[in-house]
Symmetry: C2
Subunit: 310 residues, 2 copies
């Protein structure tokens, strides 16, 4: 691996591109002609949910995977990958909006500000989430001159499956039904693989798809995505007991209050931290197996997921 | 036009195909591997929302448009059209699930049975709706051997735009914000074009896209779709005051109770009925302009929309 890779620089550059693209695509005139005050309010709720905040881990995974496979110079993110990056972030953002609603987790604080339903009402939050999910697929399907149709179709298919009942929505359903119920480790893993892991892994696969990955590289990147997807949730469970609300930007300690099964409640804190580190090793081993040269950004993102303080 | 076209036969045949396909695709093992009771409950809520009930107007529009453009023999609905038909119905179904929730219309009865949130809880309804929207895009993106990728991408793009903030979700937002507020006819039309019209028109365009329609035919079918889309809502407003709950299969008279602006409240009953008939004429004139020969099913569907008793 190159000694000269500067993750902070890479990350800042690509975060700026993603923020700029989200700002353009969420609530844009082209995609969303508006001539009703209420429609403007819907767009405002969508923008509130997406812009200003968020680590953009999923978009960065898309871009890093695309770059690793395409072996291009750094800073050459394709139109397809930029769209995939934003689309997956919109799915993530919509899930947070709906997840925070009173009938779900009933959370009033997110990224250090009032949640969407607190600010825009429950109906406004419901509709903003619904519209964000649709917008993800709008962004993935521009004119064919921008992204070829076959790639568009593949990206839509990957994202839909990661978001749906076999992925994120299914994981949420398991999560909700598991309050106060002891789960086995296998059941807990299954829940997290769907709820959080599917979309994180999908980010990697979408990026690789934009660059035309196949065979061994794609298989290894899937393994990488699976490992960091699970690690992310293990770390999330750890942070829920070790961090405070101000650091997290959301209410800490909620899992215990809500009697939700977590890795910490199942394995204990130390074993959970050990498990997170093992998953980091797995993800790095998968990158080695990928036989791709430019995996520095993916490696740095894996370390960031495991080592994140919030 | 052929003298021998039998709409009842056509309709029954295609309804059976659509019901069979929905039954296969909603909650199917292939698309949704399940090994958690809670995930099974989510699938049950999705099936409850979609199966057993519904006029399937949108799927029939997709199929009728595909057949009109492809000029094939009746009963030759393509894989692409069958998938488009089911996908648009899933978007419609999810919108009803969310629309019925307490924070929206708070309706407890739909198609003569308890609404999804009454049966499965609010969180269950929220997630089932979310998962149904994702499933629509899953169904549109099968292996390329079944539907070519470029068609898949076009269908995803059309459906996402009809469902999103510029379409259905935007119309819902306007609708919610319009309670107790007098709208002009232009504003009311805009609201309905988005809330209901966009998805109905999209059904026609998706069907035409499956058959490769372009130019004059596509333009005329868009006009047809716009006319019946608006007519549908005008008739809905009429039925809300003229029909009873048992006939409608949902609570009648809700618009007036909720002080919602409707065509009847704006124009009066007689003028609304006249308007519905003018829209029928417009839709039939558009079919003439399409220069397509086999438009009998589309014509019959237009008459059904305007003349429907429930």
């Amino acid at each position: 691996m190159s000694e000269t890779f500067d993750f902070d620089h890479w990350s800042a550059h690509n975060l700026a591109r993603v923020e700029q693209a989200l700002d353009r695509w969420v609530g844009a005139g082209d995609l969303n002609p508006v001539d009703h005050a209420a429609a403007g309010e819907l767009l405002a709720a969508m923008r509130y949910a997406v812009l200003d905040g968020g680590k953009r881990l999923r978009p960065l995974l898309v871009i890093a995977a695309q770059e690793a496979v395409s072996k291009g110079a750094i800073h050459t993110v394709s139109e397809a990958a930029l769209r995939a990056a934003c689309a997956v972030e919109l799915i993530h953002a919509y899930s947070l909006v709906h997840d925070d609603m009173p009938c779900m987790d009933n959370d009033v604080m997110r990224r250090g500000k009032p949640t969407v339903h607190v600010r825009f009402g429950e109906a406004g939050a419901l509709l903003a989430g619904d519209a964000l999910q649709a917008l993800a697929f709008e962004i993935l399907t521009p004119a064919e001159s921008l992204v070829n149709g076959i790639t568009q179709a593949k990206l839509c298919g990957l994202l839909a499956r990661a978001a749906g009942s076999a992925g994120m929505a299914g994981g949420q359903a398991i999560d909700l039904a598991s309050v106060g119920i002891p789960l086995t480790e296998a059941q807990l893993r299954e829940m997290h693989q769907r709820k959080t892991g599917a979309l994180l892994q999908c980010s990697v696969i979408m990026g690789a798809t934009c660059a035309g990955a196949t065979g061994q590289s794609m298989a290894a990147l899937k393994d990488y995505g699976a490992a960091i997807g699970l690690a992310f949730q293990v770390v999330d469970d750890i942070l829920d007991v070790t961090a405070d609300s101000a650091t997290l930007g959301k209410t800490a300690g909620k899992d215990a209050v809500n009697d939700k099964p977590t890795y910490v409640s199942l394995l204990g804190l130390q074993a959970s931290q050990d498990y997170a580190r093992r998953l980091l090793d797995q993800s790095l081993a998968a990158l080695q197996k990928s036989a791709l040269a430019d995996t520095q950004a993916l490696e740095a993102l894996a370390r960031m997921v495991i080592g994140r303080a919030y």
